[in-house]
Amino acid sequence: MDHVVYMFEIEDCSRVTTHQLVRHRAVSYDQESQRFSAATREGVVTPPSIQTNEAAYKAYDEALKTVYSAYERMVAAGVPKEDARYILPGAIRTKLVMTLNARSLMHLVWQRTALQAQWEIRELATSLLNLARDATPELWTKIIER
C-alpha cells in the first residue's frame, strides 16, 4: 500500500474543502496561490443548502458582492493581493495537485466518504476513489471487500 502512488489534479473545489483535505498527512499538495493570483467574483462554490433557500442565497450573494467589492477596491488602491486576500471567503474555488500513496488514500476515502463527512469533500473523496479504482482495479476491489 505504501508503494502505490497516485497524483491527482483537483479543480473547482472550495477552500473550505481543501482546508479539510490538508488535514490528511503524508500527502503532498501544491495549490493555486492567492498571493499572486487575482480572485474573481465568479469563482465561488455555493452549498446546495444555500442554493435552494431563497432567503439564505440572497444573504450569501450580498455578502459575496460586498467582500469581492472590498477585495477589488483594496487591490486597486495598491494593496498586494497577498494582503487583500485576507478578506476572501472560504467559498472561493481553488485548484491543486495532490500526490499520495494507496495507504493514505484509503484512510482519506474511509474518513471522507462517511455520512458524517461534509457533502463537498464526500463528493471529492468519491471521485478520488473512482479514479483510483479505474487506475488500479485489483487493489481497490480487495480494499473495498475487506
Binding site: D2, H3, V5, M7, E9, E11, A26, S28, Y29, D30, Q31, E32, S33, F36, S37, A38, K95, L96, V97, T99, N101
Partner: protein, 143 residues
Amino acid sequence: MVWSSPSPEKTIAVAMRRCYSTKPIEEIEMELEQKGADYWKYLLTKAMQDKSLDVLEHFTMTLLAEGAEGADVGDLLRNFPYLRVTRLEGSDWMVSLNARTLVELWRAPNGKAFADVVVAELDKGRVCPIFNEVAFGVRAHPS
C-alpha cells in the same frame, strides 16, 4: 529501480505552475509541453534556488534495496520519516521515496551514501537527466 513517475521533470513543472497560475491544468500541461525541456529545467532550477522543495514531492520512485541491515534501515527511517520501507525477505527491502526526500538524504551526512546509490540508479536508467543535473550536478549521459 522498480518504478518512477513518468516525465518527472514535467511533473515537477506542473506542480510549480499550479501554484502560480489560474489556468486549468490541461492548459498548464499544454503550455509546458510547448515550451519544452529547457523551460522545465528553468522552473526546477528556480524551485531549488527558492528552496521550494515541496514541488519535488510529486516525483516519486520505488526501488528494491538488497543486502541492507535492519539497523541501518531503521536509522534512515528515524531521520527521514517520509521514506516508505517494506522488508521483503532477509536483507531485501522495497523502498519508496519522493524527490524531495532524495535531495534531503543527499544533503545529510547519514543519508548521502544511500542517496548516491539512488541517484546512480536514476542516472543509469536515464529517468530524470535534468533533475539529476540540477539537483546533484550529475551530467546526463550523451544520447
